[in-house]
Amino acid sequence: MSLHRFANPARFMRLSAALLPWCSAAAAALIAIGLYLALFVAPPDYQQGEAVRIMFVHVPSAWMASFVYALIAVASAVALIWRHPLADIAAQGAAPLGAGFTLLCLVTGSLWGERMWGTWWVWDARLTSVLVLFFLYLGYLALVNAFDDPGRGARAGAILALVGIVNLPIIKFSVDWWHTLHQPASVFRLGGPTIAAAMLWPLLVMAVGFMLFFFALLMIRMRTTLMAAKIRALRLAEIDRLAAARRPAAAS
């Protein structure tokens, strides 16, 4: 039992306390600016008209859905290999947020699809693989909480998260590998973005805003988990003290 295992969470508490106000303020400012740009400044699409504004919430949600899963998988690998005490806490703190982004991606995409494709849902490669991602999040959350021993739950969840990572390249390349209704990538592609700059900027501002919002919430959730552990330790110490105080009385 070496001291660095405890030093790391303590350092995280200090670091996150310093970062949290800046991260939260930047997230709020960027999302506010992003909303203004998305709703008032970005032009309507020449084919889709105003419906294209759904993109400014759909695409950042979709990017975050995959990014958060990748982060959970990396944290799970770190937890399994090095037993870093913060890795499981980070993965479990991030999972409900990733599930939220995936749900947003699916429902906003469905609203967009109904207008532009004439259907709420199709079982094509992109939509199905994102639905699988949503179920991976739900499965991870269920598995982590399914054991009486939190350590076993965390290990089972970490293994599921690592196995599920094969889904990420399938999501990314589904639009190239299969015929789908979903359009191919127009931002992160070889040869640069094909989307107009007047739409790309609001999209990027929203995406960075979503990213900072995620990290602010992740820090809050990790701090909560560490505080809960401290509360448990303090309560146990108190029980020990009370028991020790009672023992001499019982003996006499």
């Binding site: 008209g49 105003e50 419906a51 409900p96 749900l103 947003l104 809050i220 505080m227």
Partner: protein
């Protein structure tokens, strides 16, 4: 009014933004509520230890 009509797509654009607000706001309220409850409890326990 013209703005709210979203060129005839109001029934699709606004629910998408409303849902984003509800989901992200819900995650924020849930996480922040739990954070504050734990911080209060921790302060209570540590405050009682000190005297």
């Amino acid at each position: 009014m013209h703005f709210l009509a979203m060129g005839g797509y109001a029934a699709y654009v606004w629910p998408a933004y409303a849902l984003t607000f509800i989901v992200l706001g819900g995650l924020l309220a849930w996480s922040l509520g739990s954070y504050r409850r734990h911080r209060r409890e921790l302060e209570r326990l540590q405050g009682r230890d000190e005297p």
